[in-house]
Amino acid sequence: MSGAQAAAGAPAPAAKRRSGRPSALSLFARNQLAAFGAGLLLVILLLVLLTPLLPLPDPAATDPVNRLLRPLAEGHLLGSDHLGRDIFSRLLWGTGVSLLVGLSATSVAAIFGSTIGILAGYFGGRADTLLMRGIDMLMAFPYILLALAIVAALGPGLLNALFAIAIVNIPFFARNIRGVTLGLANREFIDAARLSGKSNVSILLTEVLPNVLPVIVITVSTTVGWMILETAGLSFLGLGAQPPAADLGSMLGEGRKLLITAPHVSVIPGVMIFLVVMSINLLGDGIRDLLDPRLKSGALARPAPFTAVDRPVSQLAAASIQDDSVLAVEDLRTQFRIGSDVYRAVDGVSFDIQPHECLGLVGESGSGKSVTALSLLGLVATPPGRIVGGRVLLQGRDLIGLDAAGLRAIRGDQVAYIFQDPLTTLHPLFSIGDQIAEAIRCHRPLSYKEAWAAAVTLLDSVRIPNAAGRAAAYPHELSGGMRQRVSIAMALANDPTLLIADEPTTALDVTVQAQVLKLLDQLRSRSGASLLFITHDFGVVSEVCHRVAVMYAGRIVEIGPTEDVLSAPAHPYTERLIACVPRLGEPGRRLEAIAGLPPAVNHLPPGCAFAERCPHAEDACRAGEISLDGLNDRHLVRCIKPRRAAS
């Protein structure tokens, strides 16, 4: 059974092997500021923990004779205060108290705030309204006023200050955690847990909480410093630690009156507060960068405006053979370098597109079809993408190695893209007319008014009813099919010679897909543009493409006229790929599933990448490079045993 083999092939090797990605710990160590913060905090913590063991004078013992000694005085390392108490001793004890209060207040706020947030987010509806309006009321008071009011009601004292700070910070946690929980509560795995018979309590504790925990940790790590500062603030006002006990805030408060005569009494605790809060914040930022999935995914890495090119010098000089093809791609190679792994996403792809022709590029996810399309105009994100070889000749001119300005002049002008999901490619804040006009004005010296008129004409040409009125609409006001028509209009704005459509109908309903395919076909034949059509659907290919190229693991395995490839596929992969799709009108046909999974492109086997899954494979298939050979002058296949004799 194919399934058993499929299971056997998977994912054991991938998981066993250490991936080339750096571990979390080494990532953290690389963040020098965070490591510095962690080191500093560690030193402070050690000092505080060792304080009871150190031979220090009693922090509360007064000695009026030796009052206001300067630092480095005999017996008093950091001098003494207005009552002659040893500042060094008081500083260490006070830091301990401040840290303890700050951490305790954070824990209290985190526990109560997160509980409220999780409950409100998970149950929603009335529970959410009640809890969050309560939180809103708490937030409506200025926080310091609220803290003062709480301390005034409970009486001054460190414990009451702690409560005040915790209560004031509960809304912060509640709102953060509620937002995250709200997103989780609608996820399918919560529904799945419900259908597995789990109770609400069990779902909250075992499904929701583990997913919210990183956010709680992030919030804690970024607020501890702030809480310590707030505690110090209350103590400074005399509402926190009561004499003779001291924390950093009350030391600062006592030294305030002597700022001119004995500045060290207030400066020393001030510096300590600064060091503690700074070290905690640096560490907290480091933890956040480590845990936040949005930052982990590389949102902070700014990709270059075009893909880095790193190809052998010999290829630069090679003269192009002039022919009349619109686009000729020769041995294109694009790689992704992540850690020590090299992913050969596009590995020696060659094809050409003739004027007025539509070439289909077919493959499953991960086959490299989209990366091929993006590489043509240097749109692959760098890092980690890199073009390491090959040439892309647009009407004889090599596009690889052009500078940003050169590429920009071509993008959207001679070559235009249509992407899969128009909701993510259209800007949500500009009307569609604006966006098309902008695309026109990027390449042509038109006034805004003229460009707008041209945009309306374009919208009309993609059969949007009432184009003049609709031009002022925003993308969210249009249906999916309409949005894709807008994308097509925008791509056609500057009469491109080549259109690249990357799964343009995959997100659309079948009746809308039929219309968009038809429209694309009509526009292509009317405007004379060539079309590179990327899809996974052979049905769509038969509908619009003259020729089709099939990709597998970064290479083209077969290319030829659509009818030939579909009626007599020569590569076993093409053959199996066509056979495993259910066909309308043939319900009885057994689906021939392809066993196993495509290989990972960072560990490609030698020889044919499909050999592992191929029923006809023999030793020669796994031995060496297999070339793309012609069955006839138009139909090429990368297989040593093509499925039909060369005609």
């Binding site: 059974m1 419900r194 009746t511």
Partner: protein, 339 residues
Amino acid sequence: MTALMEARGVTRRFGGGRSLFGKPKPTVHAVQGVSFEVRRGETLGVVGESGCGKSTLAKLLVGLQRPSEGQVLLEGAGVHDPAVFGRRALAKRVQYVFQDPSSSLNPRKTIRQILEAPLIHLLRMPQAARRGRLAEIMDAVRLRPELLERYPHEFSGGQAQRIGIARALAAEPEILVLDEPVSALDVSVQAQVLNLLDQLKAEFDLTYVFISHDLAVVESVSDRIMVMYFGRVVEEGRSEDLFCRPLHPYTRLLLSSAPVPGRKGIGAESKPAELPDPLAPPPGCAFAARCPQASDLCREVTPPLERDGETAYACHHPRKGIPWPEPAGSGAVEGRIQS
């Protein structure tokens, strides 16, 4: 064959009610007056485009949503009646397979924890018995038992979907509601999962409600098919009847729009297709604005679902006796794509 599960006039509205100041809030009818039966041992296909209410219907069948009107019966007992069916009692008999395998598996749980949940909470199985049962389930979906200790992100889409199916099977249900189970998968993997579902059905005597937007997939798996449009059933019938002699113009449009490998010439409407505004649905047939056969009657009176033996249709002008495929230029579709 007898009806195992039955829906009677099921309607599901979202929104509605009145705001604080008495202003009525907008209402969306996701599912409107849907009635059908699922027979023991069959596969009922539900097909429709986005926004037709098929996912809401699926959630109604498993109890994740409650109907605003009407009821769903399982062997005559109302599944949304807490006195008859607790959540767990229903989950033991009807299970659900989600569309997106990666989002339906908790990223922080191992496969063992995910698959054990139904055994613990639904079947109250002791630990010793669970171990053997887990091995059986993994074997049924053709996954190696070593994979139990892995986390979902270590699996490919096809394997993750097998785990989703395994979780549904773990509770030993009679009915599986499959909501687009293969549409997030690559075509070669899709075939693996479809074949697996076929084998499991025979192995465990299952009944399937198979929901999909892909006509070819639905046709290849279903005994009977229900076509939905804008929250209503527009046509229902045995698979071979529906695909060979479609009666509703919408079914005909769907069939002519689907591209088939190696065949050229899908039909497309000449006017851009748009669904009616769900907040302000038009009176009469929701498809009338797109329908070439629409008359004034269609725009005023909503056609009821009329049963005629095994088939049912909701249309004032059913295409009875009109051959399929229709000759070019005569029907809902404009000319074929020429190139």
